[in-house]
């Protein structure tokens, strides 16, 4: 059979047993860029992806369809104790299909921290800049004009400005954006320049194949070399095996299954070296729900178009970055506390609420060791992530600062998302938040950013991959190219950091391997 183009694994009538040049596991931000770069160098590339191949033809902006189609565990993924909700993509194009299009280059402070504390060498702004530029050009990454902010972003922006806090519009990877507001449910008009409509079709045009609905069970290895991949084809909904298996031999393997999926593949393959699956970070957030007199309609318009880094550096305390997030009925129902009539009344404010979060920068202090990926007997991974007191302090402080910002832009009241609702109606009462618990399950905590678990570094006893080209220390034909290689969280939305690093690493692979 032909192994080029988009191949739907759920429809394959027989087992697949093939040999290719490069096998890429995962089609998100890391895998798609790597696949394209290596296909452009003449390599025969096959991308395998557990998710389905959905396009704008399928995207109808309804949560009931987008979550099962495009998200891990139908958007129900959580940490082991259910304490943190994890929004993570599962589709051809990975999380880039459902992210909010926010693009930041990796902060200088983060790269410096990695160099000083995690033996990361050769990755500074100078080395990464040409790769960011290449990706930014392909993905049309441009700064949002201030007049394109929706009201949900504008109230945060204006509140920060009124308080004299740093705030700016962000960069987005969109082209001819129609401002629908449904980035999180799959862009209905292909304006979002996700991997689905950029690097993946680019790679396919160069002869690459993308096999969807293929779950990777394990890598077979011998004497420090990966010899084959074994996988299972899944049905049209990605739930049950079709009964067909996959075995792929390749000269090179690139693992890009994300910061939960990549460690899980290694753990299932018996490649646990004590480092794999550890130091997983989340940018955990609590949600601030502010009610205004006039409609906000946070469901419409570019969902994320400004950010405040005012509290990104809090000295010896954990920093955070404030942003807006969109509101859809199921998302809001999940966030709003209470039962019965109380919950229903809260939901009736749907059109008039502004919703904000603050990305907590986890992983920069010694007592922030992050989470651990565990593989359960069924083979499904789960992340165990505790919220240490230091992060609880940052969550509490961010809750107060977000309340300050919205009161400064005219909010009538601000709700936290604690099990028992807490409402502040006067900015003088914000200190009431100090009495609340910020432990998981006392307050709703969530994330859309998973990082770490296969960290890079030059010390083979403390890192999974080396920095130069993200090659595994212990396996000579395996590279890990995704957000799992970050030694800490980033402090900014991760997609551009993953693209840039993937572009750098794959370019170096292409150079050192030569043209195929």
């Amino acid at each position: 059979m032909t192994l080029s183009g988009f191949i739907n694994g759920s429809e394959l009538p027989q087992d697949l047993n093939v040999t290719v040049g490069v096998c890429v596991i995962g089609s998100g931000a890391g895998g798609a860029v790597a696949a394209h770069t290596l296909a452009a160098a003449g390599h025969q590339v096959l991308v395998v992806e557990e998710g389905g191949h959905y396009t704008s033809q399928h995207f109808n902006m309804q949560e009931s369809e987008a979550y099962p189609q495009l998200y891990q565990e139908s958007a129900g993924r959580t940490t082991a104790d259910l304490g943190v909700s994890i929004l993570q993509g599962r589709a051809v194009g990975g999380t880039t299909v459902v992210n909010y299009t926010t693009c930041f280059r990796t902060p200088v402070e983060t790269l410096d921290h990695w160099r000083i504390h995690h033996a990361v060498r050769g990755l500074d702004h100078q080395a990464l800049t040409p790769h960011w530029r290449a990706v930014e050009e392909r993905l049309h990454v441009e700064k949002v004009p201030a007049d394109q902010m929706n009201r949900n972003n504008r109230v945060l922006y204006e509140g920060c400005e009124a308080l004299g806090w740093q705030v700016e519009t962000t960069h987005r990877n969109v082209k001819h954006c129609r401002q629908s507001g449904y980035c999180g449910l799959g862009c209905p008009v292909d304006a979002k320049q996700s991997m689905l409509v950029t690097y993946l079709p680019d790679a396919v045009a160069l002869g690459a194949g993308v096999l969807s609905r293929c779950r990777v069970d394990r890598l077979i290895h011998q004497a420090g070399e990966i010899t084959a991949l074994e996988g299972t084809l899944l049905d049209v909904n990605g739930i049950k095996p079709t009964g067909r298996s996959v075995r792929i031999k390749a000269q090179k393997f690139i693992l890009s299954a994300g910061a939960i999926g990549s460690p899980a593949v290694l753990l299932r393959s018996g490649m646990d070296d004590g480092v794999v699956g550890t130091r997983t970070f989340l940018h955990p957030v609590v949600v601030s729900v502010a009610r205004y007199q006039a409609p906000v309609l946070a469901c419409y318009g570019a969902p994320q178009s400004c950010a405040s880094h005012q509290f990104a550096d809090r000295g010896d305390k954990t920093g955070f970055v404030m942003e807006a997030v969109p509101v859809h009925p199921v998302l809001m129902a999940s966030a709003m506390p209470g039962l019965g009539r109380d919950h229903a009344l809260g939901m009736q404010a749907f059109a008039n609420v502004a919703v904000h979060v603050a990305l907590t920068k986890d992983g920069f202090f010694p007592d922030e060791t992050g989470g651990t990926v565990v593989v359960r007997p069924s083979g499904h991974p789960v992340l165990d992530y505790a919220i240490p007191p230091r992060i609880q302090e940052a969550l509490r402080e961010s809750q107060k600062r977000m309340a300050q910002a919205v009161f400064a832009s005219g909010a009538l009241e601000v709700h936290t998302c604690h099990t028992r609702a807490h409402v502040t109606r006067n900015p003088r009462d914000i200190a009431g938040v100090d009495a609340l618990s910020f432990k998981p399950l006392d307050v709703g905590i969530s994330t859309a950013h998973v990082m770490g678990g296969c960290r890079m570094g030059e010390d083979p006893d403390d890192a999974v991959v080396r920095c130069e080209d993200l090659r595994a220390h212990r396996f000579k034909n395996l590279h890990v190219v995704d957000g799992s290689v970050f030694p800490t969280s980033l402090g900014v939305n991760p997609q551009l950091s993953i693209y840039g690093l993937a572009h750098l690493a794959a370019s170096r692979m292409a150079s050192s391997w030569g043209r195929a």
Binding site: N60, M61, Q62, E63, S64, Y67, P68, E73, S74, G76, A80, D81, L82, G83, R178, S180, Y182, P188, V189, D190, N237, G238, I239, T278, C299, Y300, P329, V330, M332, A333, S334, M336, L339, G340, R341, D342, H343, A344, L345, M347, Q348, F350, A351, N352, T372, V374, V375, R376, P377, S378, H380, V382, D384, T419, R420, L441, D442, G444
Partner: protein, 175 residues
């Protein structure tokens, strides 16, 4: 330490031992008969389904809905969860209904399924504020599943002032 933690987690969030207490021995009260599935189930068994529906009725008491329809949607969304998590949800419904656990932990010697809507809401609220992590987890799981089951339906959106996605405006014109 880390290995111990991994072993613990691979056995599952709810472990199993604590749930052996009580079980479904007193389960067959009137609620189970009232909340019967109307079609095939993906993840829940009929008993777990009845508890899920009874919980949904209390969680969604502020709106008009059919708890059996809600429980079917909750069951369908659980099909995407890991098998261990699916088993935990089934165990959770047994723990929630258990009169023995209710007596020991809440002074409530009656099965969840036999309680009024208000009684079920109070039981769920006590789970949400329990000192026991597993109870708080269970509360959040049921609350989110029921909320998603209801608000994913476009017919509910007018009630919250949501006009829905601009499908015609975006899809009805040339790209």
């Amino acid at each position: 330490m880390q290995t111990d933690r991994r072993c613990f987690l691979t056995r599952g969030l709810l472990g199993g031992a604590v749930l052996a207490v009580g079980g479904a021995s007193l389960a067959s009260w009137n609620g189970e008969a009232r909340f019967k599935p109307t079609g095939p189930l993906e993840v829940l068994d009929t008993f777990a389904f009845s508890v899920a529906a009874a919980a949904a009725e209390a969680i969604l008491a502020g709106v008009a809905c059919d708890p059996v329809v809600m429980a079917h949607r909750m069951d369908q969304s659980l099909a995407y969860a890991a098998p261990e998590q699916q088993a935990e949800i089934r165990d959770l419904t047994r723990a929630l209904n258990s009169p023995l656990l209710g007596l020991m932990l809440d002074g409530r010697p009656r099965p969840f399924l036999s309680l009024s809507v208000e009684g079920r809401a109070a039981a769920l609220q006590s789970w949400g504020e329990s000192r026991i992590v597993l109870r708080r987890s269970g509360y959040q799981a049921l609350r989110k599943l029921a909320g998603a089951a209801y608000y994913s339906d476009p017919s509910t959106w007018a009630g919250i002032g949501y006009a829905g996605p601009p499908l015609t405006a975006l899809k009805g014109v040339g790209r």
